[in-house]
Amino acid sequence: MCGVFGIYAPGLSREQIREQLYLGVAQLDHRGPDAWGCYFSDGMALGHTRLSIFDLADGHQPMITESSALVYNGEVYNHYELRRELERDGVVFHSKCDTEVIQKLYEKEGPSCLAKLNGQFAIILWDKRNQALFLARDRLGMRPLYVLERNGALYFSSEMKAFDAIFPGERAIDPARLLDHALLWNTLGRDTIYRNISTVASGTYECYQGGRLTERKRYYEIGEQTRDGVSTLSFDEAMEAFKSKLDESVQLRLRSDVPVGAYLSGGIDSTVISSLVKQHKQDLFKTFSVEFEQAQFDESRYQRLVSEAIQSQHHPVSISSETLSENFLNTIYHCERPIFRTAPIPMLQLSKKVRETDIKVVLTGEGADEILFGYDTFKELKILERWSQGEGAAEIDSAISNLYPHLNHYADPKQFGLIKMYYEGFLNSFGNNFVGLNIRMNNNKIIQNYLNKDWGLKSDPADLGSRLDATLPNNFTDWSLLQKNSFLEIKTLLQGYLLSSQGDRMALGNSVEGRYPFLDHNLIEFVFSLPDEYKLQGFTEKHLLKQAFAEQIPQDIIDRPKRPYMAPDIAAFYRGGELVEVAEELLNPAKVAEYGCFDEKMVTRFLRKFKNGVPDHVGYRDNMIFTFLMSTQACQYWIHHPRQQPLDLDKCTVEVFEYH
């Protein structure tokens, strides 16, 4: 895995561009600590930091041919097959690296080559023949690519901290987009929470010529292959096809010139992936897990059970409250956005653990909950839909009371009426285009009360709804309620949070590459087309996955209640009734006023609620508010105190100047 950086600024001098490029590249060292390189031409430059996975000796970047210069972050798993295809057509290769395959394929076919790539990537390619810059991101947006527009110049980077090094203190939060993020856990489309910084959208490419955008095109959208309607396969046929596609996806993701490990959460998704890995790798296989000191968050019993079953060499990392508070700032340094739960922090510690071994690539279970209807939002929607049709009262009652086993009050039959009343509030809105996001937005709406009153911001569902509609594919209306929710969960929580703040940034913070077998687009399209009941059968989530692997994984894992990966939130930031130092520094009234995002009175009042200690049970909302306040303040902290990583000149492997 790697870091990419680029400048396209015909108005700047060669010296200015060189100076800026070195500053930018140096900040991406953690994404690629093995080497770095750069390429300069008139009015533009490319930079790259490399984590070597394929062709350790020859795969240096930028990769330069007569017609193009390329920097690329990611992996294209089917590069062997694509190489053979190109070789048949007479293309000559000089390395064994997937980078060269992408470059030669682009040179031959142009942007349409993206449809052939199976993998995770962010690409910046300088097309010398057309004097044009080509940017692209993988279908799911697993690898990041940000664009900063400043005084007519364009800057491109895997992470925004590279922009900060060039323009210290300039990155500025856009209040309206911050509110979007607060409501959805992500911003929509190309938006980021920062002014003048956009993201290349997932599954999209952009072309720039003469210093300006000339084309922007979506080359892939989730569910594009379901235009012919729902699959007619029987459940057994679907199950067999699913097993073989997932197995194929795992095998593709085991392709590497370095050893591959896996994250093991103790849930079914990572258990299935690890079991499939074990089938293909007879040698000693390493697994990695997060353990918590607090029993309510700890899943080590299940992790060890699976590790023993697949005979992996297991490496747990233990997380205490101190780990969470001490690593909070560094976590936000890497993820660059507000978070809603502290769960990303242990993931950064986990990738650190991985790098203490010989592993730098891990397979993980992300995506199964979204494509196989694992989240409770799918059940909630099903409940609301049936309820609105006035049927199945007893089944619905029991489904509601079994929801959210980690929230104690849901399981209390006496409180059942209250919960039912809570859901009843969504009966009128669940069928709009937000589907399952209505509940999340409603729960998070409270954040607007904490924002700086001078901003005058209030959530506006109609405005957000029309901006959301503009991002939806035209076959969205043909889908079932649950398919729509699957699409939106992928677009918001998965892409904007689990794969980025909690995924890419936490793994690459310690130079570890994550690979996601459930998110192979062939698998996604296949599963998306299946009938809803195959995925959520009654109120049993991920039915297809459970049935498909019932014989291969421990029964305890299949039977255990689903439980989201979580870490202590507020409780980790209080010791003996006092805020720990980092929280006190970020949330004191002077700092809140200085950074200008929140209302000091509201923050103070919120904290007063815990002045006599943090109760044993803190609601979702208070934990969410606290983590959001802390992490937004921490984003501001890093804008005000940017780290300046120096450039290690000894690691430079490519430096090419092609001026005319």
């Binding site: 929230l407 009050h409 849901y410 039959p413 006496k414 409180q415 059942f416 009426g417 209250l418 919960i419 039912k420 009343m421 809570y422 009843e424 509030g425 409603n442 729960n443 709406k445 409270i446 607007q448 009360n449 904490y450 959530s459 509201m602 009042r605 919120f606 609620k609 609601g619 979702y620 909302r621 508010i625």
Partner: protein, 85 residues
């Protein structure tokens, strides 16, 4: 002792202000606190517990309907009915 609705309402509002970090003037009296984003489901449980303690009433399962819990004024009317019953 007769139920003082005005006093009860101030007590409830004070609880809401302190528990859910809203300003007094932001609390609607006739709208659902859930729909307004002031409380989530956990908040409903907390309010039920508050009513039981503050007004010495017992909230039973059949009481838990929107007619009783659907707004501040409905909550007060419910508490009054309960205390008088």
């Amino acid at each position: 002792m007769s139920f003082n609705a005005e006093h009860a309402r101030s007590q409830l509002l004070e609880f809401i202000v302190n528990s859910y970090m809203v300003d007094l003037e932001e609390i609607p009296l006739d709208e659902s606190l859930i729909d307004e984003g002031i409380i989530d489901s956990f908040g409903l449980v907390e309010i039920a517990t508050f009513l039981e303690k503050a007004f010495k009433i017992k909230v039973s399962e059949e009481d838990m309907i929107r007619e009783n819990f659907g707004s501040v004024n409905k909550l007060i009317a419910f508490a009054e009915r309960k205390q008088n019953s």
